[in-house]
Symmetry: C2
Subunit: 296 residues, 2 copies
DNA sequence: CATGTTCTCTGACTAAAGTCAGAGAACATG
DNA sequence: CATGTTCTCTGACTTTAGTCAGAGAACATG
């Protein structure tokens, strides 16, 4: 029952942790603003945004947000202006006074964290930081979601750019002309492309294109190197297989280069079989395929 | 700046973690009770208690708690009875139906934790559990507080009993007659005794007694073996030195046995100097002392 | 340019959360 | 047994948090 043991640890940790550090919540109080308003201030301070974006980030009702924004405006902490690009939308930013208050929230949060580690020695602090970083990576990797995006969108270009940079470095892959092909092959109706974003940065991507005869090809599969070893690659591959299946493919195929040993190990683990060369990718040295018949 | 790096990791983790698992909070919703009432139900379910204890545990206003309890009673989830030992007090316990609802909260919390680890492989789950256990230990060790208690109280007896068991095992210490001496020497006005309790279990203890001539002796210093290596011993020792100073001592002294190598290392680190034998403890082989002149 | 859609705001609510000042019963103490 | 203290309750509040149904302006599209 490794499972029950794990959840027990998580829950034990959860109780202790939320009690002690009281999440961020506590540090949001005591600056003269109610929690909801403080949270909004904090969010705007982290990055000015449209009302719409704030609503989705914080999960608020539009009427409610409208009132919270009004309150921030009345207190002289924020300014709300129409977006010149679309005058239905409203842009929210902090005033200098709002920024001062935001920094105050930051400071309290920082003080709280400092107070927690204060009784610990330098070595113990390092241990705590290492343990939390590890837990952070795993929790994020387990919860990040794959969003379907246009392969020609900025976020997709960013992600694929990182992919090209890495394969360029590792086996001299030349991406000339590829983005243009991707824009067609990896977009509906012929294919799909997904990106996982965490804290505004792409951390993984991958797509599926049609090879014909019920065969879908997995392409541009990439995981940010700070995020490897946390199961994100397996999750991504499963997600792409599901997408291929939904597109009507019965077989998934992919090629890779011998230098990408982690990827090859991943495909082996996921049940892919070696298969003869297909296509004309001059950089590919290994070819895999897997039946999509049984889901999972 | 190991410090800033540590707080940055903590805060990063904090954001991700509270967002994803949403603390326990989310799992408290959706059982047909408002958050505050659900939290109270959960607390009572964990351990039936007096209204007073619940108030201090949850930090509630007495009027507010009174109403919350009424609500639980009206819904048939709890029974509130006068404490026979002190009829001003009220005892709160759950009804069978309340216990059923409590279990429901437990299940949701469990399900949430399970859902979090679901995308992870067995190995990654183990890593997550290990990382959280490590963080848990350090956070608890950094935040547990030392309470001054009567050395004759049950919790003190429990803690010292564990201490005796360990030193008995390690170098054959014989505690005959010691508890009776402690009851006088480690209680005001002659001395003081402290226990750290976590989740109802003593995890560390120690006391100070007067040797005369401005010398205080540190006694019964013990740390639960599951809690070692997290700085709890150093914190305890500092706490005892502060107590000795407050009792008017200018010098702290202590003896120990050569088999307790971790303790000896701790005393060395804390600035204690070897000193010739004092007193007539037949089990002591090493003697230490330290000036309490400069605080810290 | 008519039509539907998107985005924000307003009014009118409800429920939850929390505070404060006593009142009254039960205990503790000299 | 008079007096002060502890503990819980009640009444009378205020503030937050959150929901819902439109209204109206701005955009998108055929």
């Amino acid at each position: 029952m490794a499972d029950a043991a794990t959840t027990a640890v998580i829950r034990r940790f959860n109780r202790a942790y939320t009690q002690r550090i009281g999440a961020l919540e506590d540090s949001f109080l005591g600056v003269g603003l109610p929690l909801g308003t403080a949270r909004l201030l904090f969010e705007v301070g982290a990055e000015p945004a449209t009302a719409q974006a704030l609503r989705s980030r914080l999960g608020l009702d539009s009427g409610y947000l409208s009132r919270l924004l009004r309150r921030l405006e009345e207190e002289g902490l924020a300014v709300v202006t129409p977006d010149p690009a679309d005058r239905r939308r409203r842009l929210v930013d902090l005033t200098p006074e709002g920024r001062r208050r935001w920094r105050q929230l930051e400071d309290r949060s920082e003080a709280r964290a400092r107070q927690l580690v204060e009784p610990l020695s330098a070595r113990q602090r390092e241990r705590l930081a290492a343990a939390l970083a590890e837990a952070d990576l795993l929790v994020r990797a387990a919860t990040v979601t794959f969003e379907r995006v246009d392969p020609d969108s900025p976020v997709a270009r960013d992600a694929v750019g990182r992919y090209f940079a890495e394969v360029g470095r590792r086996f001299g892959f030349d991406p000339a002309g590829e983005p243009e092909k991707d824009a067609v092959d990896l977009a509906p109706p012929r294919g799909e492309f997904f990106v996982a974003v965490s804290d505004g940065e792409p951390v993984a991507c991958g797509g599926v294109r049609a090879l014909g005869d019920g065969v879908g090809e997995v392409k541009r599969m990439w995981v940010h190197d700070g995020w490897r070893g946390a199961g994100l690659g397996s999750r991504l591959l499963r997600h792409l297989e599901d997408a291929a299946r939904a597109l009507g493919h019965r077989v998934a195929r992919l090629d890779t280069n011998e230098t990408l040993v982690e990827a090859i190990a991943l495909y082996d683990r996921a049940g892919y079989q070696r298969t003869p060369r297909y296509g004309d990718n001059p950089f590919a040295t290994h070819f895999f395929q897997k039946s999509l018949a049984a889901p999972g």
